[in-house]
């Protein structure tokens, strides 16, 4: 049975309440990562999670709102709104197409997610910030630039590696959480039906 999607239906009451949680999870995840001195930002967990459950538009709103709210304290984050927005959109569309069901679909989904992040983040980092954002990865980028590497190559190289790992960790956390949510809750979410175990043999 093919389900038809409308943007208005996506924003159900439950979805509206998931958005604040997603933003707060992004925020707390970022804080926790820096508290544990991990070399990743891990600040898209909430976006990915919301997009997996409620679809692309809710994910996009959650991503955008994250950067607006963190931008109140540090307006530099406004520049990265497109990155977080695209993370939500792409994850949501992948989830709607049920791309998180079999392991080989996972790999395709991960590659797509990582590619969107890198392609959308690199131009912002290079054109707005001249390659340096003040994060932990900036040190490596600066070293590569001083060694004579092209700024685009330096940014794509360092940001690329860290972004891929970052997205994989975020995705796994989101997936683990969804796996333990009971089916009676999952059915209330737009894309939740995709994660319900039909019988013991189907999902991984």
């Amino acid at each position: 049975m093919e389900k038809r999607h409308s943007i208005k239906d996506d924003f159900s009451m439950l979805a509206l309440l998931i958005i604040p949680i997603a933003v707060a999870v992004n925020f707390v995840g970022g804080q926790l990562a820096s508290l544990l001195k991990l070399p990743f930002y891990l600040d898209t967990i909430g976006t990915i999670f919301a997009a997996m459950l409620c679809g692309p538009w809710v994910g996009a709103v959650a991503g955008t709102l994250t950067n607006i709210v963190t931008g109140i304290a540090n307006p530099v984050n406004f520049a990265f709104i497109p990155v977080n927005l695209l993370v939500g959109l792409v994850t949501g569309f992948l989830s709607r197409k049920n791309m998180f069901s079999v392991w080989w679909k996972w790999i395709i989904a991960m590659v797509l997610m990582a590619l969107t992040s890198i392609i959308s983040a690199a131009p912002i980092v290079v054109l707005v910030f001249g390659g340096i954002t003040g994060g932990g990865t900036s040190l490596i980028t600066a070293t590569a630039m001083a060694a004579g590497a092209n700024i685009w190559a330096a940014v794509l190289g360092t940001e690329g590696v860290f972004t891929v790992v970052d997205r994989i960790i975020s995705f796994f956390i989101g997936y683990f959480v969804i796996k333990v949510i009971p089916a009676r809750t999952l059915v209330k979410f737009g894309c939740g039906g995709n994660y319900i175990r039909k019988d013991n043999s189907t999902s991984i």
Partner: protein, 263 residues
Amino acid sequence: MWREKLSIKKDNAIAALYPSAKFLIVCLYSFCSLIIGTIKIEGYPFFLIPWFLIVPILCAASGVWKNFIKAFNKVLFIAVIIFVVQSLFVPSETIIWQIGFIKVYEAGLQSAIVLSFSIMNIAGMFIWMFQTTENKEISRALEDSGMNYKVAYVFISTLQMIEVLGKSSKTIMNAQQARGVETEGNIFIRSKAFFPSMVPLILGAITNTEERVLTLESKGFDVKCKKTHLFEIEKSGKEKLAAVIAILITTLVIIGRVLAWVL
């Protein structure tokens, strides 16, 4: 009908401006910063530096100097790093200064000024807006400008949720440490501590939403009717004057840019 009302009284005329007027000022200022960045004297966009003085002056005049400094530190940190990296590490043909092994390149210094001062200008102005406006004023202004009341609710609810989840993440971390999850050591040990802190946090939050849906629906959140407000904001009456001044300055900047082209 008698209704209880809350409002914020501000003595400072600039800080008391209506949020949309402040937003207009921020937009025009950012636009001007981008234009001024293209006016160059011998390749250097020197005008950006005096232009930046407007931000601290405006903040001091609005009476938010201390908060401004606090918030601006983060932006300044990034701007300084960008400045240093751009001027020292981006090699080009002409070298301006050379002290020992440290070389300052011409093209690097030019782009360093553009990037770091543009960021400081635009980010500084946003800091001014958010330091002089309270969050509930923003959400109320959003609603008044014709946005759905749900948007305003999500915005305010997000700010509250960050506090709530921040607190519960500390509780969870403490509980997990008591159980023996290590949060110090090499990078793998620290990464392993990340999962048991995040998963219960998200799960707990999700479980609570179901109850909050019931609460909100029982209070008539979804009912289609005119909503009343406890919190009101009023225009201070100086919005038109502020807008005229901002537009006047923008026009002058555009004229200046055109003149620089012609001459």
